[in-house]
């Protein structure tokens, strides 16, 4: 029990690190996922191809490998950034592939006639997508996007292996100090639960507010 009270500062640092990684990577994943989903349904062939390659590569690569590629690969091409930023990039890009596919499945639930009606009124492709199709798709993708972001929060633990400050990584410091490893892990698990249950709560609220009425 005194693991937590004695080392509250260390836990808090790790907790905030994970929250930070989760929030920034989520924003990046949502923005990129949205963009890639638009690409994948665009009338322009090259955009569709780009979106498909993006999803195929990122969704089928182990996240750890992606971390290695970004953290060790990009500096070789002269791109040197703090490890935390690299970690956010890797997590965000990886998750964006899943967000893209969730959004696309949502787009497919919107009847074709909705898009046709919008186009027949003279709306452009981007207007049709942003004003008519996506707001309706959004309602049915709230649950899968919630799951994807919870997975992201937990995946952020990999960043700890690359010496980015985050929650799971605190166990190293604490076990070196000789604290009981079981209790350390229990408190770390509680920390993750706080984050993931918060995401759940947010998405439950969104679903009640905007979800498809039945």
């Amino acid at each position: 029990m005194n693991v937590l009270t004695d080392n509250f500062h260390t836990f808090a640092q790790g907790f905030l690190g994970t929250v930070e990684l989760t929030v920034y990577a989520s924003v990046l994943a949502l923005v990129l996922g949205f963009l890639m989903a638009s690409f994948r349904v665009a009338p322009v062939g090259s955009l569709r191809a780009f979106g498909t390659v993006w999803v195929t590569v990122l969704r089928n690569t182990p996240l750890t490998l992606l971390f290695f590629a970004v953290l060790l690969g990009l500096p070789r091409f002269g791109l040197v950034l703090p490890f935390k930023v690299f970690a956010i990039l890797a997590l965000g890009c990886y998750t964006s592939a899943f967000i893209c596919e969730a959004l696309r499945s949502g787009i497919n639930t919107v009847p074709k006639g909705q898009g046709e009606a919008a186009r027949s009124l003279g709306m452009t492709f981007s207007q049709t997508l942003s004003v008519v199709v996506l707001p309706q798709a959004f309602r049915s993708v709230i649950p899968p996007i919630g799951s994807t972001l919870i997975a992201l929060a937990k995946n952020s633990a990999i960043a700890g292996a690359f010496s980015v400050n985050e929650l799971l990584g605190t166990y190293k410091t604490l076990s070196e100090l000789g604290y009981n490893i079981v209790w350390t892990f229990i408190w770390i698990a509680v920390g993750y639960l706080i984050i993931t249950l918060t995401i759940s709560a947010i998405f439950n609220y969104l679903e009640q507010r905007w979800g498809v009425a039945r």
């Binding site: 009338p43 046709e116 009606a117 027949s120 009124l121 452009t124 004003v131 008519v132």
Partner: protein, 247 residues
């Protein structure tokens, strides 16, 4: 007839896989004309209607609006579609928007009108189709006939040069068909250019300037409704009419 051609189709061809849905279609619709397209299912009438604002692409031939060929994609095509209204069989009102927003949306996004101005125009049009009191409701709260009248108001809000109707009453209860047809009759009297794909022979008789009879992807007859209904030339049309006019 056809003093001033608005819509011209010239040698238009299209396949769906093996099926040759549009075969060398030639058709001219003059300004202010009401052309009713009838024919058996699968004859290509809906495809023809949808090809005019390029919801269906064509393989060969030309479609011109006021003498200008249909643009391929992008802004120019969007601009053309704003000039040609379309009313669908399944209404296709935007399910997440209120009736008023449905009619105002494209006015704001495409025509660049201010919200107040667009809403004022929308209420005017909704009043014209007898639905001003329904403005704050959502499409799912309205009957089919009411939804279709809203869809007509939505198309009119763009001040289109022509309106295309793709079987506008086929998804409606018999009781609701009349309320939609009355709105369409009124539009025809007001001089709107209309291409109407329908099975409503009464409407064809009373409102059409010309009846186009299609079968198997071809235009078989293109005549005045009087001549067509009393004295069809082709066997195909005679057969069709004898089947539908019997009841």
């Amino acid at each position: 007839m056809a003093v001033d051609p608005l819509i011209e189709l010239q040698d238009v061809n299209k396949h769906f896989g093996e099926l040759h849905v549009l075969q060398d279609i030639n058709l001219t619709v003059g300004k202010g004309e009401v052309v009713v397209v009838i024919g058996p299912s699968g004859s290509g009438k809906s495809t023809l209607c949808r090809a005019i604002n390029r919801l269906e692409t064509i393989e060969s031939g030309a479609i011109r609006l006021e003498g200008r060929p249909l643009p391929d994609e992008g802004k120019a095509l969007a601009g053309l579609r704003a000039e040609v209204g379309m009313v669908f069989q399944s209404f296709n009102l935007f399910a997440h928007k209120t009736i008023l927003q449905n009619v105002s949306l494209a006015q704001i996004k495409v025509r660049g009108r201010k919200k107040e101005e667009a809403d004022r125009r929308s209420l005017e049009l909704l009043d014209r189709v007898g639905l001003a009191s329904q403005a704050p409701k959502y499409p799912a709260q309205l009957s089919g006939g009411q939804q279709q009248r809203v869809a007509i108001a939505r198309a009119l809000a763009m001040d289109p040069k022509a309106l295309l109707f793709d079987e506008p009453t086929s998804a409606l209860d018999p009781e609701m068909i009349n309320e939609v047809l009355e709105v369409m009759q009124q539009l025809a009297r007001d001089g709107m250019t209309m291409v109407v794909v329908t099975h409503e022979m009464g409407f064809a008789r009373s409102a059409a300037n010309r009846v186009v009879f299609m079968a198997d992807g071809r235009v078989v007859e293109d005549r005045s409704p009087e001549e067509f209904f009393t004295n069809p030339r082709s066997d195909r049309a005679k057969d069709f009419l004898s089947k539908i006019l019997k009841h």
